[in-house]
């Protein structure tokens, strides 16, 4: 399986975030398929973990943590428990050493735990050879968090996993310069279904919560989570979608907690109008002026 790390909560001002919202956000991230959630020490203290976990915080100083989920088997075997829902969660130190490298700087990472950042220009280079070199670098853990400065981070992350990479770091939507989490998850679901077991139908709820917490709206046409991506107006597409939605939809809108909507506008054709009339229990003759 692929380790998917979400870094969203490390990147925006969470001062006003309630513990309830924080728990809810983490819950939704785990549900949609995230393996580890990166948290700042401040956020950890707000999750209400018991004293031994807080000791871990002191030990780490200002370094970040990973929140992970316990497997049901380990709960049954008597792991230290907390009240629901956190009884299913545990903390571990983020022991990845972050390196911002350029293509010419690949090095030996024998037995190291590394997070590689940068590499935003990989799509215009021979990236399969670069991935091969990275995978052969001897690292114990090799996490990739490519920059989205050149708008190709999702593609780089997906190609990394296709090449054999086993860990990627992302951030929800595209406000962080990380690979957009929702795009990476859908890419894995469609291109490497055996590596993915999350439930993406919570993405719509996650978007709403994110917008409230971050105080910024997500673009209406944002890939995967945009509110308007399943609105159809043009006559040709409405015709296709009414005959079979698969003709012009990459996946069922419900997969991501959204729904399709036929809207009327400049590009609407007769079929759209008839559909809308039907939908409103109106007859065709009512739309034709006498």
């Amino acid at each position: 399986m692929v380790t998917i790390i979400d870094r969203t909560l490390t990147t925006f001002n969470t001062a006003g975030m309630t513990t309830r919202d924080l728990n809810h956000f983490c819950d939704l991230l785990f549900t949609c398929g995230v393996t580890k959630i990166e948290l700042t020490p401040d956020l950890v203290s707000r999750l209400g973990f018991p004293a031994n976990a807080c000791g871990l915080k002191q030990w780490l100083g200002n370094r970040n943590f990973f929140l992970t989920q316990l497997h049901p088997e380990s709960l049954a075997s008597g792991s230290p428990g907390m009240n629901e829902p956190k009884s299913l969660w545990k903390l571990e130190p983020n022991d990845l050493v972050q390196k911002n490298i350029s293509v010419g700087q690949l090095d030996s990472y024998q037995h190291q735990k590394i997070r590689i950042t940068g590499l935003e220009d990989l799509m215009t280079r021979d990236y399969p050879s670069i991935f091969k070199a990275l995978l052969g670098s001897g690292a114990q853990t090799l996490d990739l968090c490519p920059s989205n400065q050149q708008h190709c981070a999702t593609a780089i992350a997906l190609e990394w996993v296709l090449a054999g990479g086993t860990s990627i770091s992302c951030g929800f939507t595209n406000h962080h310069n990380f690979p957009p989490l929702e795009e990476v998850l859908m890419g894995l679901k469609l291109h490497l279904p055996h590596t993915f077991s999350g439930d993406l139908s919570v993405l719509s709820e996650l978007r709403h919560l994110y917008e409230a917490l971050a105080g910024q709206p997500v673009a209406k046409m944002k890939a995967i989570i945009g509110a308007d991506i399943f609105k159809v107006e043009s006559g040709i597409h409405v015709d296709g979608v009414l005959k079979n939605p698969r003709t012009y939809e990459p996946f069922n809108p419900q997969t991501v907690g959204n729904q399709r909507e036929i809207v009327l506008g400049k590009h609407s054709g007769r079929k759209s109008l008839l559909y809308k009339l039907n939908d409103s229990d109106l007859s065709e003759s009512m739309a034709i002026p006498s």
């Binding site: 220009d121 799509m123 215009t124 399969p128 400065q149 050149q150 708008h151 190709c152 999702t154 593609a155 780089i156 997906l158 190609e159 296709l162 957009p180 795009e183 859908m186 890419g187 469609l190 291109h191 709206p217 673009a219 209406k220 046409m221 944002k222 890939a223 995967i224 945009g226 308007d228 991506i229 399943f230 609105k231 159809v232 107006e233 043009s234 040709i236 597409h237 015709d239 296709g240 005959k243 079979n244 698969r246 003709t247 012009y248 939809e249 990459p250 809207v263 506008g265 400049k266 590009h267």
Partner: protein, 271 residues
Amino acid sequence: MTSKQKYIVDTTLRDGEQSPGMAFSVREKVTIAKSLDALGVTRIEAGTPAMGKEECRAFEKIKLACKKAQIIGWNRMSLSDIDQSIGCGADIIHVCVPASDLLIREKLRQSRSQVLETLSTCAAAIHTAKRELTIGLEDASRADWDFVVKLVETARDLGATTLRFSDTVGIMSPSLCKATISRIPPNIDIEVHMHNDLGMAVANSIQGLRCGAKYADSTLFGIGERAGNCNLEHLLIATQGQLDFGISLEELQWCQTDLKSIIYKSKLLYA
């Protein structure tokens, strides 16, 4: 390193305007087209003349206003659509051919052989009018490969100058794109038309171009159906120093600042 010369086909006025809620007036379409022409865009897909009189009027004005760019009229496989495009003075008559069995069966309700037959009839009409023919394979990324090859060979035999490979629902990965575009039979110029449903339209366009495509389709601000088309600004950012489209990134950014209020009349659409 010398940058490789490639070309942009801008479809802001056709595929871009199909974004729900977007609508340009004739004057706005001409303003956008003139800006694209001045930027150095090689081909401008100005619209679908079959949509009606206003679209035709916009088309004729765009044709007069643009000094260098070739103007493309987009068409379904329909002789009446093609007649409209020819009548509007389009330099290039583009015929969109559903390539996947899903579209052929579910949308057209036809067979593959009917598609090939209709395409030949359309091509003949375009050649009679002495216009350049380009052919687009709609939903090519979900099509049966043998039929894609058949369509490419047919396009070449029918005298099409360019073959547009469309990832209509934006599901390709860069590696799949590389593998696919590399396999397209030779002796026809390739154009890649990538949608952004998985957030990979820019990366996929780059892979298409690196594997031999001469043209990449894009739109201003990446507007288009669902999650949009390949964003021209993002494509230029990602390929700086590697691919040369003959378009200045800085000038494009200035141009987009000027055009933003035309393209996003409603702030809600942009948000």
